[in-house]
């Protein structure tokens, strides 16, 4: 099987988030970046498991500048065979989908994996756009995937239960928890990663239909209120009116 895994770079989960340019730009200074966990833990690892079971190749693709090579190398260390980086800032979900589609059209992948969303923008848009641009089926939020020949059986968690779908290759699937178990790169993988091919390709033109106007931080958590342990009326009032748990 010839598999493509889309990986994004996201801020490390404990990074301090701030904005600049009148709150219209995410300030990357001092932020540590990691591979988007949904891409790494579920999409990439399931693709590797399929390759290990049935043979084939796993290629990872990222849209971003050279600074993203560290994240790409980690994917190679975990086990991907090679990588492609589209050399441009990922301006929007459509831009990213368009770049990946351009590469995928020329390569005829059997399946394209990506995480269900990135943990920074939480857009969950690229998968659907990519499938549309490639004119192939799209299964979102896959939590289990089995291949039988060219047919994939994919389970996806839905409200109150599980939906199971079948789809023929080629297809795009976004991956959520349950799809695979996280893999930690071993030393052999880390050392081999730098020897694996990483192809850098230029971006193609893509019209932007939307512009980010501004970002804002969530409201700060309110302070802890200390109550007199004898004042049960006030406790009940707060639980009812403010916490809204009664």
């Amino acid at each position: 099987m010839k598999l493509l895994v889309c990986v994004s770079k996201t801020p490390e989960t404990t990074a301090k988030i701030s904005f600049s340019d009148n709150n219209s730009t995410f300030n990357e200074a001092g932020v540590q970046f990691i591979m988007n966990p949904y891409d790494e833990w579920y999409a990439l690892v399931r693709a590797l498991e399929l390759k290990e079971a049935a043979g084939g190749t796993v290629t990872i693709i990222n849209v971003g500048p050279a600074a993203n090579d560290t994240v790409i190398r980690k994917g190679l260390a975990i086990g991907a065979d090679d990588a492609i980086r589209v050399d441009s800032e990922p301006k929007s979900a459509l831009f990213v989908a368009k770049q990946i589609a351009e590469v995928a059209k020329a390569e005829n992948y059997d399946a394209i994996f990506l995480g269900k969303e990135t943990i920074d923008y939480n857009g969950s848009e690229v998968g659907a756009m990519l499938a549309e641009l490639l004119d192939v089926p799209y299964i979102s939020f896959g939590s289990h995937l089995e291949m039988n020949g060219n047919v994939a059986t994919i389970a996806r968690d839905i409200e109150g239960g599980v939906e199971v779908a079948e789809v023929e290759t080629p297809f795009v699937v976004s991956s959520s928890k349950g799809m695979a178990e996280q893999r930690i790169p071993n030393m052999r993988g880390i050392m081999m990663a730098k020897r694996k091919p990483l192809k850098v390709v230029p971006a193609v033109e893509c019209e932007d239909f939307a512009t980010v106007v501004s970002y804002s931080m969530p409201a700060a958590k309110s302070e802890v209120k200390m109550l007199d342990p004898e004042n049960m009326d006030e406790l009940v009032r707060l639980l009812h009116e403010e916490a809204k748990v009664l």
Binding site: V31, I184, M187
Partner: protein, 620 residues
């Protein structure tokens, strides 16, 4: 009634939540990367062919992978391994159920074989990177990780001195985490004094030796998390000379291979020791040859066992310092977390009880205790990585560079082992103190860290032994060449720091203390030359403490030079705070720790031989 229930629930809920609060952080990867990349520039080791594949990106990725292993397989079982300790039952040693996975994960991730050659299945990883990774594992859970790295030490010994058959039989299963390696030295009558070993080895016509004897305190000596145990066993071949020169080294497996099957090798476990700490880390009492059927396989040449074993012991001494420092580091982060969450008391200038309480980290004395821990642990880590760096240079370079690195490593090994072990105890104690009564209770991990760290000042040579090793042997070896090299290394940092307005006072202070210890050393050597070995070495432990403090001050100056330079640029808030934390901790070390050397100097320079003159009968 409802109100009473609610009240009870609310109060219980708050109380319970508070008491089960565990530490979230046990190590700072940012600090390790700072040391490796900015202070030691370890990527430059790739100028040597053996390390040519290591660059900054690969080193950082290795550390991140180590942290993931620590987070996933080691740290989550740290306290549980203590609460569900190892035990002996029906001739078998039962250990925590998570241990097998932990050992196997470390093996499969390539960390046990990391330094070995590609041909042998290793990754030719520099010692300094490998030890940084081990530090992460030990901080996460030294009681689990130590099993895996005992196997590494045993494998190294076989790789260095064993036959091809020994290598192919015993090393791959230890690298794979399937078999456990140990160091079997201590006997009931022979602890620090290995001269008195009585385990015997009798040569047979078949080529192996029949082994008979007992070993005690054997770490990892028997357990069910691996399918076999391989003891690197010191014994005396029958007829060999008395003393250390008659001791040979053998591979003594618990199970031996006969016709492709593992069968008993007549190595049994009499029991395990009930320890103050490290309760998940087995210390076994091993009996070999009770049925006259224990086979040992000679490693290297007869009668050279102790010198071979010392190769492993020097690695183990660095590892012991690393374990102690890792435990103190984890304890520091646990104390820091508590200090940033626990409100108690008010500022002395604002005592109004109507004002909210402040977090305890606002109190100067708590800050002092946290600074003490930070100064000890980050200073010790820097020294341990410095020694690992010297081990790399000594391993792969040639000529004078190799010889100098070897001498510096020899000189600093007793300090790298003892300073983190001794000061780590005080550091964890300060961490425990930050928590007040909660620190003494087992709802928080500090009391476990305090119990666990204590043995490191005893393992692999007590502090007293290392004091005598430093003053009685290392300082004078090669006519004092190692000390001269050490002084020159520090002098380089002093000169570099003197060009900084901020660092100059500290550089000057270090220069003054360096001159003082040099003069003291000359004075003590004169005592030795006057043929008074008892007087010369009576306070060797204090000399070790003095030397250790100077050494850590050097490491702080080294870190300070990098931090001071980094702060010349505009930095993101986190980076700014990180480098400022380095300079503040450097200030602490020079203001609070370095002055203690003056008291040590006064005692060491004194001619009052009171410990020698004190009679046993006076202790009553």
């Amino acid at each position: 009634m409802v109100f009473e229930f609610l009240k009870a629930f609310f109060i219980f809920g708050l109380s319970k939540k508070q008491t089960i609060k565990m530490a979230e952080k046990y190590v700072s990867i940012k600090n390790i990367k700072f040391l490796l990349n900015e202070v030691f520039d370890v990527a430059s080791l790739n100028r040597f062919e053996y390390y040519q594949d290591y660059d900054k990106e690969g080193i950082n990725m290795s550390l991140d992978a180590a942290k993931q292993i620590g987070d996933t397989y080691l740290f989550p079982i740290y306290t549980d391994m203590d609460k569900n300790k190892a035990y002996y039952e029906d001739g078998a040693v039962k250990v925590h159920k998570g241990l097998k996975t932990a050992i196997k994960t470390l093996a499969e991730a390539g960390w046990i074989s990391a330094h070995d050659t590609y041909e042998n299945g290793g990754q030719q990883m520099p010692f300094v990177v490998m030890n940084a990774g081990l530090f992460v594992f030990y901080a996460a859970n030294a009681n689990a990780a130590a099993y895996a790295f005992l196997s590494q030490g045993a494998s190294n010994l076989i790789q260095a001195f064993g036959t091809a058959e020994l290598k192919s039989t015993y090393v791959p299963p230890m690298y794979a985490g399937d078999w456990q390696g140990t160091m079997a030295l201590t006997e009931p009558q022979a602890g620090s004094s290995l001269t008195d070993i009585t385990s015997s080895a009798e040569e047979t016509e078949e080529g192996y030796y029949k082994i008979k004897g007992q070993k005690i305190y054997i770490s990892g000596g028997d357990h069910e998390a691996t399918e076999n145990v391989v003891h690197l066993y010191l014994a005396r071949i029958k007829g060999a000379a008395v003393g250390t020169k008659g001791i040979s080294l053998f591979v003594v497996p618990k199970l031996r291979n006969e016709n492709g099957r593992l069968v008993s090798n007549d190595v049994s476990t009499a029991g395990i020791f009930g320890k103050m700490g490290q309760k998940g880390y087995v210390a076994a009492h091993i009996m070999a040859g009770e049925n006259d059927d224990c086979r040992g396989y000679l490693v290297g040449e007869p009668h050279r066992g102790l010198s071979y074993m010392f190769q492993m012991m020097n690695e183990a001494r660095i590892a012991t310092g690393m374990i102690a420092n890792a435990q103190a580091t984890a304890a520091y982060y646990a104390a820091l977390q508590y200090a940033t969450e626990r409100p108690q008391g008010r500022h002395l200038s604002k005592k109004d009880p109507n004002l909210p309480q402040v977090l305890i980290i606002e109190h100067a004395d708590v800050k002092r205790m946290l600074l003490f821990q930070k100064a000890i642990t980050e200073g010790s880590l820097s020294l341990l990585l410095q020694c690992s760096y010297y081990a790399d240079i000594a391993s792969v370079s040639t000529g004078e560079e190799k010889e100098n690195a070897h001498l510096l490593l020899e000189l600093l090994t007793p300090i790298a082992k003892s300073y983190p072990s001794e000061m780590g105890i005080h550091s964890v104690s300060a961490g425990l103190q930050c928590l007040g009564g909660a620190g003494y209770c087992d709802d928080f991990p500090l009391e476990q860290y305090y119990r666990d760290i204590r043995v490191n000042a005893i393992y692999e040579g007590t502090t007293g032994i290392h004091g005598m090793d430093l003053l009685g042997r290392k300082v004078m070896m090669h006519s004092g060449k190692a000390v001269k090299l050490f002084m020159a290394e520090i002098q380089k940092e002093i000169v570099a720091a003197q060009s900084s307005e901020f660092l100059k006072p500290f550089a000057d202070k270090l220069a003054e203390r360096l001159k003082a210890i040099h003069e003291l050393t000359m004075q003590l050597i004169q005592v030795a030359m006057n043929n008074k070995p008892e007087v010369f070495l009576a306070d060797a432990t204090l000399y070790l403490e003095y030397f250790g403090t100077i050494t850590i001050a050097w490491q702080w100056l080294k870190q300070g030079i990098v931090a001071d330079k980094a702060l010349q640029a505009e930095l993101p808030e986190d980076d700014y705070n990180f480098y400022q934390s380095k300079l503040h901790t450097l200030r602490y070390f020079f203001e609070y720790e370095v002055p203690k050397t003056k008291a040590l100097h006064e005692r060491l320079a004194s001619s009052d031989n009171l410990t020698i003159e004190m009679k046993a009968e006076y202790f009553m």
